[in-house]
């Protein structure tokens, strides 16, 4: 029997598949190449900003601000985080950008991951967060499980 959760997971995986295909992301890419591929796919400019003053961040691991009129976005991560972690946090935001449903946002569009901890998220918001997180996991697999990385680790 197919449950609602199964149906949601299937939708999430399909959206994540489309997002990865949309940017033509493939194994062996570096993180910078992934960001560039997203820029090209969406015809936008992106900046990754390592924030040094994160005293007030608390549970915040990264955020994206998007300027539709300039077709420009900036992804802010903690400068103090390990590169692998801050790249994952940034990849989550790339996931939002690549996800079909989140390419144009309203002024106060807001969200946070860890939907299990946020009862205020609506079902579409919850699903969008899962999609972004799935895309981040896929990007991580492309970055860190490719032969290129394995070879260079000798």
């Amino acid at each position: 029997m197919v449950t609602e959760a199964d149906e949601m997971l299937a939708r999430v995986q399909a959206r994540a598949d489309r997002a990865i295909q949309r940017a033509g992301l493939a194994a062996g890419m570096t993180f910078d190449q992934v960001v560039h591929a997203v820029e090209q796919a969406l015809e936008i400019r992106l900046r990754i900003v390592p924030e040094t003053d994160t005293a007030g961040w608390g549970t915040l691991t990264g955020f994206l601000t998007y300027f539709a009129d300039r077709r420009e976005g900036s992804i802010h991560v903690r400068a103090s985080d390990a590169a692998i972690y801050s790249q994952f946090a940034a990849s989550h935001e790339l996931g939002h950008l690549l996800d079909d449903a989140h390419c144009s946002g309203a002024l106060h569009e807001r969200s946070s991951v860890s939907p299990h901890d946020n009862p205020l998220l609506t079902t579409p918001e919850y699903e969008a967060e899962l999609v972004a997180e799935h895309i981040a996991h896929r990007i991580a697999r492309l970055l860190y499980t490719s032969p290129r990385v394995a070879e260079s680790s000798w």
Partner: protein, 221 residues
């Protein structure tokens, strides 16, 4: 949040909460339904006029002994007096200047004018528009408003109703002020959307950190 009074070892009562205001409304509704005058109710409940007036005027809340005495005087169960769901419309006394300042803060956050807000309310309920106008122009220390007016204003501004109806709640105030600060920063920076990833609930400080980052960004090229 109440203020802890070290001299007597218990929290000060403070202004009546939203729930307490519903109890006041219930007492008034039940009194009218029973055909009792205020004097008759007070006589039956063994309550002085000044004690009653400070509760009916939203300066202090009833305590549970009061609820029991009033229920007996009204011939109903205490639960009926204490049930918040049976009070659809509730009035409240609010400090005029601080509440008006909050309403102006909301107007600013919407990039609107006071007239825009009043016009919006006028389309829904002319009486609500008149109440909002009175609050914004109040020269007295306090004003009595229908809670629905404050709900309509917060709905228009897309903030929690408690920001105006439970203005003594420091946590709601802090979080809402931080949200408003972030909205201001987004508008000033020309940001059309913001997404963030957090492991658990975002603190007001985190919202302020994002606002600070937006304000510190280099100008568009």
């Amino acid at each position: 949040m109440g203020v802890y009074d070290r001299n007597v070892g218990r929290g000060a009562v403070g202004p009546p909460s939203r729930y307490s205001r519903r109890v006041v409304a219930n007492v008034d509704r039940l009194r009218r339904a029973k055909g009792l005058t205020v004097g008759e109710l007070l006589s039956r409940a063994g309550m002085t006029k000044s004690y009653y007036q400070s509760r009916a005027g939203f300066s202090l809340p009833y305590n549970t002994n009061d609820i029991e005495a009033l229920a007996a005087a009204l011939g109903v169960a205490p639960e009926e007096v204490a049930n918040p769901d049976s009070a659809p419309r509730v009035e409240m006394r609010v400090p005029a200047a601080p509440l008006a300042a909050r309403v102006r803060r909301l107007v600013h956050s919407q990039g609107a004018t006071e007239n825009d807000l009043v016009d919006h309310l006028d389309e829904i309920d002319p009486a609500a528009a008149e109440s909002a106008r009175a609050l914004l122009a109040a020269a007295t220390n306090t004003v009595v408003l229908d809670e629905e007016v404050l709900r309509l204003i917060t709905h228009w501004a897309d903030v929690p109703t408690e920001y105006l109806t439970d203005y003594t709640d420091d946590a709601v105030t802090d979080r809402t002020d931080a949200e408003l600060e972030l909205r201001d920063a987004m508008r000033e920076a020309g940001a059309s959307a913001i997404q963030f990833r957090a492991l658990g609930e975002m603190s007001p400080d985190a919202l302020r950190a994002i606002a600070h980052s937006l304000r510190s960004r280099p100008p568009a090229t």
